[in-house]
């Protein structure tokens, strides 16, 4: 049963990363609120760190570098989420909506 040996293959993890990335892209296009787009962007970041971890596990000479890179991505993602939520709350105070279709002041 080759299915049970999948966790030893590099390509399995790359496919998981590609799956997360495409879910993130799909969510970015299909969501119409700022929070939905924020959730989708978290998926894209998670796809990037999954790829780093996979290459770190299978190919890299020094397996510390990928872990540190993933830690950096996690910190950036946390900071990005905090800033995005506070921007969204400021927008909500002024417009009473977070729907991307209603925020059109810069449309000219």
């Amino acid at each position: 049963m080759q299915l049970l040996n999948l966790y030893n293959c590099l390509s399995t993890y790359l496919v998981i990363g590609a799956l997360l990335f495409s879910f993130g892209i799909y969510g970015m296009v299909v969501r119409r609120t700022v929070i939905g787009m924020l959730i989708s962007s978290e998926f894209i970041l998670a796809a990037a760190s999954t790829n780093f971890m996979a290459f770190n596990r299978f190919l890299a000479p020094d397996p510390v570098v990928g872990q540190i890179f993933t830690l950096m991505i996690m910190a950036i993602a946390a900071a990005e989420a905090a800033i995005a939520i506070s921007i969204m709350i400021a927008v909500y105070r002024n417009y009473k909506t977070i729907d991307t279709d209603d925020l059109v002041d810069l449309q000219g």
Partner: protein, 184 residues
Amino acid sequence: MQAIVCQPTTAPMLFSTEGMVGVIFLLTVALVFTGAVIAVNAQRLVRAVAGLAICFTGLAGVYYFLLSPFLAMMQLLIYVGAVSILIAFGIMMATPEEKDGAGMKNRSLLAGPLAASVGALMFASLTVLALKTQWQVFPRQGTFDIKAVGMALLTTHSLVFELISIVLLLAIIGALVLAQRGRN
């Protein structure tokens, strides 16, 4: 641990130790997939956040399989424990009344299939790229353990360490300033 791109060992039996490890890995991947589907397709945003938490719990398991228990724990702490809760608070404070299909309104009929085809195209091309490429394996020099990570963070990669702390400090101050502006 030898760096092997895909171990050509014989398939393990289902009820052996290796077989159960494989079953647990498949369950973890199923968790990631289920969470991602819920997070992207749920009509209500609270359910999308729950899907995010499920997906990132599964992803912590995947990191465990990638020989990094430290990052698995960090994934649980930062993503499941902090970011999901933060987004849940954001939904509580900044979502107007939750209508059915809020967040999916006003979109043209083509948007769903178009977005799905864009995502499928991305997935297909990245998968082909991942499966066709001949990856080059370098001889391994270091180890995976948390002690090596800590040593590298304080010596070789100390600039990264400092940068992370400055970025987080700026993010905290910036979030406070932004959220406080126009509050009266």
